[in-house]
């Protein structure tokens, strides 16, 4: 095979995998044309499930597998793929970065289509710099941290990063921009415009999200992502070369790869073309030391060399030199911080003392310590949640749980019959539940309490009882009793006042969501009573 063809294949593979990633990202949602056969409902348990393997990229991601294995000593289902990728990397080197990684492809495209520099300046940007060590330090930090029970992999894992960046920030932001146009059109008196707005919404919402989801810290997630994309202006594939812990993992494995760049110094004229097109800053030029661990297998150097001085070849004898440039000091620092982080992060007392009242995890979530061992903060549950209740946490889960999923009942609520988030969590931090499990165990995510200082019937402001109406359990967790209150003209009024039966309440939060008092509703859910934590119980028995 000619090298030109290999480069074409690489490009096609990159584009296809990026499109596949975007497709799965978009498909991570409850579609509208979805139904279950109602005539079978009584005889057969049916739950809403996505039929497409949306976790594919997480399944093939060895960083997800290894960090989860170290932290929880659990073998996540589906990660056989990750081992296959590791096996191939042993053989081919960092081909994942060059051929598969959708985030790498984005960086590649931004850096290559319109480079910020030209000529010798561009060559110097593609030289290896000591900062390349950083990614190994990050990788080690993540692994050591994971070993001590805090899984930070997802913060910088490229798959989690890209998913979160697009699902929780970029797509909803575009959606909101479009919404404002739609709203203006729908409000117009020209029928054709309002009709168009409806048609457009029908076309756009399956792609960008139904009901215009909103996410707290979405601005920050977007900003970080955009800065990282911008870094390609400073150095092409800045992320892949300097920051990516998955790239570092592959770099370490590449040390054993027999696929090496064979260089003919006699033929080299020093034109620097290879340096100009090198994606990994792996020093392909014959007179400097080529770094197997930095090479992302883009095969550009071989393709552009006018003298055919560079060829990739399998060499089964001898070892790679040099070893990955990790740096002893960086290793020590990352070992130290990796040990320190898990324990420092527990200083907020979330695990050993009391849990934040706002820390309401999705149904099926593991106990908090195990949850933090597994959660990748990828945002899949946030994306798939049909009511937009699941949010990236800001302070609710402490520093350790930054960007992990929490439920915000003023934005959404946990739909009683829905168990979608439990079915797509790539690491099982949210355990798979059937609708029957969720209903019958029951799975509590918190408990609801009436704030009598705000509640309309309790404050003599009139009848309401919306919370009781929408309460999904049977018998209802929210009941009312008629009570006499004194009205504002001193007249006695008899009103139905809500009470919460904690033995029934599952903390779904629809009462809080539908309460006419907005902002800080008159009935609110706190995490207390959640079934995942034996410590966080209220009642002696239930």
């Amino acid at each position: 095979m000619k090298i030109k063809h290999l480069i074409y294949i690489r490009r096609i593979s990159q584009v296809l995998f990026l499109l596949f990633f975007l497709f799965l990202l978009i498909e991570t949602r409850l579609p509208k044309d979805f139904f279950i056969d109602y005539s079978l409902e009584v005889s057969r348990q049916q739950d809403l499930r996505l039929e497409i393997p949306v976790t594919f990229f997480f399944d093939i991601d060895p960083l997800v597998w290894l960090s989860a294995l170290l932290s929880s000593q659990k073998w996540i289902s589906g990660t056989g793929w990750a081992l296959a990728i590791i096996g191939l990397t042993l053989f081919l080197g960092r081909f994942f970065c060059g051929f598969i990684c959708p985030f790498g492809t984005l960086h590649h495209a931004i850096g290559a289509v319109r480079p910020s520099t030209k000529g010798s300046e561009h060559v110097s940007r593609n030289e290896k710099i000591p900062a390349h060590k950083i990614k190994y330090a990050i990788f080690l930090l993540v692994m050591v941290s994971a070993l001590f029970g805090l899984n930070l992999a997802g913060i910088m894992d490229p798959i989690s990063f890209l998913f979160r960046f697009l699902a929780v920030s970029i797509m909803p932001a575009i959606n909101i921009g479009i919404k404002e146009v739609f709203d203006a059109m729908a409000a117009s008196d020209f029928k054709i415009l309002s009709l168009l707005s409806y048609t457009a919404e029908i076309l756009v919402s399956p792609i960008l999200g139904f009901g215009y989801p909103a996410y707290q810290t979405g601005f920050f997630i977007g900003l970080v992502g955009l800065v990282i994309l911008f870094l390609n202006r400073i150095r092409p594939r800045f992320w892949c070369r300097i920051l990516c812990p998955l790239g570092a993992m592959f770099g370490l494995i590449s040390y054993f790869s027999p696929l090496r760049l064979e260089r003919n110094e006699n033929r080299c004229t020093g034109c620097n073309k290879c340096m100009k097109h090198c994606q990994g800053a792996a020093s392909p030029k014959p007179d400097i030391v080529w770094e197997n661990s930095e090479c992302v297998r883009c095969f550009n150097c071989q393709g552009v060399c006018p003298e055919n001085a560079l060829t990739f070849k399998f060499k089964w004898h001898g070892s790679n030199k040099p070893a990955p440039d990790i740096g002893r000091r960086a290793v020590l620092i990352s070992l130290g911080t990796g040990v320190a982080f898990p324990f420092l992060s527990r200083l907020d007392g979330q695990i050993h003392h009391s849990t934040d009242a706002r820390l309401i995890r999705p149904p099926g979530s593991l106990p908090e310590d195990q949850f933090l061992e597994l959660c990748q903060r990828c945002g899949m549950c946030m994306k798939v949640c049909p009511t937009n209740a699941i949010q990236p946490s800001f302070g609710e889960a402490g520093i350790a749980g930054f960007w992990t999923p929490v439920l915000n009942m003023t934005i959404g609520y946990c739909e009683y019959s829905c168990t979608l988030c439990t079915s797509i969590c790539p690491t099982g931090a949210i355990e798979l539940l059937s609708g029957k499990d969720k209903r019958e165990r029951p799975v509590r995510i918190g408990s609801s309490f009436v704030d009598r200082g705000k509640c309309l019937p309790w404050t003599a402001n009139g009848p309401c009882i919306v919370c009781e109406e929408v309460c999904p359990t049977s018998p209802k967790a929210i009941v009312f009793q008629e009570g006499d209150v004194i009205g504002f003209k001193k007249e006695p009024i008899r009103l139905k006042q809500p009470y919460v039966n904690l033995q029934q309440c599952i903390g779904c939060g629809i009462c809080e969501n539908k309460c006419p008092v907005k902002g800080v509703p008159a009935i609110r859910v706190i995490s207390s009573g959640e079934s995942r934590s034996p410590k966080n119980q209220i009642l002696l028995f239930s």
Partner: protein, 308 residues
């Protein structure tokens, strides 16, 4: 559906005219659909078999009432308003019976309707509701449109109600040629029962949770705005406890009954008997009669019955 074209809002006019005293005289001027062909009608279908043949019962009921083509003309856009507010399986009786819904869709199509749409602004999340209640499957099977409560379909309109003025309205109901109200009969904690007129809360957007603060007047305001061609109350299974959401088979009773009328008040009033409640005990039925939306006196209507 002309009430939103008044040059001066009725409420405004009444304020000028001296308010509440004149207000109570107003009902006579509101003519309900029920009187259009002289006398309205009310038809009851009942099956003594259990499980009953819902499709046959629904078809028979329309037959004795003169057939669907009496109400639906060729080329009509028909919008059906089931109650599918809750993501509950049909046997839990929180939502309109899918077999009734499907039969009505098919009957409309047979009568020559150009388009049949199923629309509801649900309380639980709409995709879950439509998928679980069977509505999505029916739409797929019959080719009816499923209209989701998208924000671009909510349009501010003046309802000219006593309590509700400008309010976002779910547009398909306004733009339809014919509207069929297809609720299920259930108990309700604050309005007593939820039948036909209460079902219109699912046809508006906005701050619906505030409607409970004056539920009966709100229902009547909405029932004055949305005047369906037909009301068909599904009482095949009815909810007798934990209403309106239920969730357990023990909340359900089997009544095997359907009530069809072009008088929204009469339909609701007749459904009261299923729960052994007097229509006079339900605030919004009383109020609706007072406002002239229909009658609770069945002797003013042609009555039909079907037994199966």
């Amino acid at each position: 559906m002309n009430s939103h074209h008044f040059p001066i809002s009725r409420r405004h006019f009444l304020k000028l005219a001296g308010g509440a005293a004149i207000y109570s005289l107003a009902p006579a001027s509101f003519s309900a659909n029920a009187k259009e062909d002289g006398r309205g009608f009310i038809a009851e279908g009942f099956s003594s078999k259990d499980p009953c043949d819902v499709v046959a019962l629904t078809r028979k009921l329309f037959e004795v009432s003169g057939g669907m083509s009496k109400f639906i003309s060729k080329g009509d856009v028909v919008v059906i308003k089931p109650n599918i507010s809750w993501a509950r399986a049909p046997h839990l009786a929180a939502t309109t019976n899918p077999e009734v819904l499907e039969t009505v869709v098919v009957l409309c199509q047979e009568a020559g309707a150009k388009k049949v749409r199923i629309a509801d602004h649900t309380i639980y999340e709409a995709r879950n509701c439509f998928a679980v209640t069977g509505a999505a499957q029916i739409a797929q099977k019959t080719g009816a449109d499923l209209v989701y409560p998208l924000s671009s379909l909510m349009k501010d309109m003046n309802l000219h109600g006593r309590r509700l003025e400008v309010w976002p309205v779910f547009i398909p109901f306004v733009e339809a040629d014919k509207v069929i109200n297809l609720p299920i009969a259930k108990v309700h904690s604050i309005s007593g029962l939820t039948l036909g007129m209460k079902n219109w809360i699912g046809a508006v957007g906005g701050r619906r949770s505030a409607l409970h603060q004056d539920i009966h007047q709100s229902i009547v305001d909405l029932a004055r705005f949305f005047k369906p061609t037909l009301t068909l109350i599904d009482a095949i299974r009815i909810m007798i406890a934990n209403g309106p959401s239920g969730g357990s088979p023990t909340d359900v009773a089997v009544a095997n009954r359907l009530i069809l009328s072009n008088d929204p008040v009469a339909a609701d009033a007749m459904a009261c008997s299923l729960f052994k409640i007097q229509p006079s005990d339900i605030g919004h039925i009383q109020l609706a009669q007072k406002w002239g939306l229909g009658t609770t006196d069945f002797s003013q209507l042609n009555r039909y019955q079907v037994m199966l």
